[in-house]
């Protein structure tokens, strides 16, 4: 089976992050993302899922540094690259959507110009042409009245609209890999569903691979074929998304699944007491010597083949 799989677009091997030379933040994380695949990283705060995304983007802040391991993107070693080469990839081939669009967007620049900037920098277009492309990009993320909205500043848009703008910027250059870090956590549930669906649709249509970082298994199930579970700086389990709920392998994953409040799980006349993670997961199961439990990728549906 595995020899039928294409070469991964992103390959992270034994990635270690720390402060100084000590490996304290990530203790050797390895995973692959295939072209066009949506891969989810789930975990609690402090598990290392966000810093993994930032390390791939090359956006780690000092004093946090990569202390070991490799990251290969389309066969090229990202960590061995010169800063200039990495800047060229960033925004063009690898793009990122952040959790808080208000802090990620420049408040003093119209959103049309912020999108157009991508075409000017990465495609060498002139501003007038780039602006036209920016309006098209806004249209593709289903922002109503894109012509008019292109002249708006970030504060004039709602949270959901701002996140659509972020997605437009990230997908402007049709990247091969999109990293989305909690892209809908700051949004209302009703808005969240629409933004997720939009992101999934656009990536599917373009064959963009996605690394979705989230604490919400529901969000990951919505979009990802493959999911990695992180705990305390380690990848503890990796599986196809459809199996992780029915057949979780790692005790930590079982604990995470059991402690979620789920709609429709409370019986009438009963108190809705929840299972706490510690009731399910023994301390020894969260230790350093637990291996990563990985099941091979299941058969994949190649969408759009023949269409």
């Amino acid at each position: 089976m595995s020899d039928l799989l294409p070469d991964p677009i992103l390959s992270v091997r034994d990635l270690r992050l720390g402060i100084g030379s000590s490996h304290r933040i990530l203790h050797g994380v390895s995973f692959d993302i295939l072209p066009g695949e949506a891969y989810g990283l789930v975990g609690e705060s402090g598990s290392g899922k966000s810093v993994t995304g930032l390390a791939i983007m090359g956006l780690l802040k000092r004093p946090l540094t990569v202390t070991g391991g490799t990251i290969h993107f389309q066969g090229r070693d990202l960590l061995g690259m010169r800063p200039r080469e990495r800047r060229q990839l960033r925004g063009d081939r690898i793009a990122m959507v952040f959790q808080e669009p208000m802090t990620a967007l420049n408040p003093l620049v119209t959103i049309g110009r912020q999108i157009a900037e991508m075409f000017v920098i990465h495609r060498g277009m002139g501003w007038p042409e780039a602006r036209r492309k920016a309006v098209e990009a806004l249209e593709s993320v289903r922002v109503p009245a894109p012509e008019e909205r292109a002249r708006a500043y970030p504060h004039q848009l709602s949270g959901g609209m701002r996140q659509r703008v972020m997605i437009a910027i990230a997908l402007a250059c049709r990247p091969d890999l999109l990293i989305a870090d909690e892209p809908t956590t700051a949004l209302d549930v009703t808005v969240q569903a629409g933004v997720l669906e939009l992101m999934a649709d656009l990536c599917r249509a373009e064959g963009t691979a996605v690394l979705l970082v989230s604490h919400d298994l529901g969000v990951i199930a919505n979009m990802c074929q493959r999911v990695g579970v992180m705990d305390r700086g380690r990848l503890v389990e990796e599986q196809d998304t459809r199996n992780i709920f029915t057949n979780p392998l790692h005790p930590y994953t079982r604990g995470l699944l059991a402690s979620r409040p789920r709609l429709g799980s409370r019986e009438p006349g009963q108190r809705g007491r929840l299972t706490e993670l510690e009731e399910v997961v023994a301390a020894k199961d969260r230790g350093r010597d637990m291996p990563t439990l990985i099941t091979p990728r299941g058969p994949r549906l190649v969408e759009g083949a023949g269409a």
């Binding site: 609690e44 709920f245 929840l274 706490e276």
Partner: protein
């Protein structure tokens, strides 16, 4: 019929917005429009809705932090606002609030002990070693240790800080806690601990809760009654089981349908339970296919019973 512990009667809160031009028309934001809710002793009433629907404004009015434009909040049948209303100190012993982000609501330069103790001193309830004992007892009650009193807020994790936020709210033995998104800033596993703690405290201390939340799965677990708000109005309200098993207003249905439930997505068993029937010839209010303008008066409508303890808003 017995008097409910707390009653919100026809609450309306309007905010004046700045004029667009110096001589332009006055603009009003209708944050809350004619909301009536009751909280019975020992119950948890949850108010759900998206940001801007007026749920937090309603809660602030209960706390006395926002003056109502019209309407009343009654505690044991006596009004909490207007002439003859209890003063701030008295009010502080009726209802207390637990905030979403406990770190932002704790003084970073005071130890936890002195934060908790200051209330006892201010209200003249205890001082010296007795106050210290009461702080230690409260910390134990929320699952912390007595020597945590010597520490500062930054020395605690998110879950511990929320425990401190709960301890702070309980120091004066209030009857009501207003919980404003009490777990939405916390990790899933910590959420479960805090929800369980809140339910245990409710039982042992005979507390009543008003919970503001946008997380429907948490609401379903904790609540006795649920009110769904949309653009300043309650659009559906009733017993938790009734609302969740027969969500009837299109907005409630949309909310429940938006919860990303992993298993349901993967098995394709995703669906919202069937709603109750409404009287023939009547329609839901407001129409959720268009966005109501919060500066205009809402259309005439009323809450109509559709079950034993279940009401939904229909156009008049």
């Amino acid at each position: 019929m017995s008097v409910p512990l707390l009653e919100i009667r026809d609450l309306t809160v309007h905010f004046n917005l700045p004029r667009r031009t110096p001589l332009g028309p006055r603009r009003i934001l209708r944050a809350v429009e004619g909301v009536s809710l009751t909280l019975n002793e020992g119950e948890c009433l949850s108010i759900v809705g998206e940001s801007g629907c007026g749920k937090s404004t309603t809660a602030l009015t209960v706390m006395g932090l926002q003056e109502p434009t019209e309407g009343q909040v009654l505690y044991q049948g006596k009004p909490l606002n207007g002439p003859g209303a209890p003063g701030r100190k008295e009010r502080a012993r009726i209802a207390q609030m637990v905030f979403q982000d406990p770190y932002a609501s704790l003084n970073p330069r005071q130890t936890i002990g002195s934060t908790l103790m200051s209330q006892l001193k201010l209200h003249g309830l205890a001082s010296g070693s007795e106050a210290q004992d009461r702080v230690a007892a409260m910390l134990a009650r929320v699952g912390l240790q007595a020597d945590h009193a010597k520490r500062f807020p930054h020395e605690f994790s998110g879950g511990q800080r929320q425990r401190i936020g709960i301890a702070r709210a309980l120091m004066l033995n209030p009857r009501i806690l207003v919980l404003d998104e009490p777990v939405s800033a916390l990790d899933v596993s910590i959420q479960a601990q805090i929800i369980n703690l809140l339910m245990d405290l409710q039982e042992t201390l005979k507390l009543s809760y008003i919970m503001i939340s946008h997380d429907l799965s948490v609401v379903e677990h904790v609540s006795d009654r649920v009110a769904v708000m949309y653009y300043g109005r309650v659009v559906e309200e009733g017993d938790w089981h009734s609302v969740f098993s027969r969500p009837t207003h299109p907005y409630t249905r949309r909310l429940i349908g938006s919860v990303p439930d992993a298993e349901a997505i993967l098995t394709g068993a995703r669906g919202v339970p069937e709603g109750a029937a409404i009287p023939a010839g009547r329609s839901f209010s407001p129409d959720i296919s268009t966005r109501p303008d919060p500066s205009l008066p809402p259309e005439a409508s009323m809450l109509v019973p559709i079950g034993p303890d279940h009401r939904v808003r229909l156009a008049d």
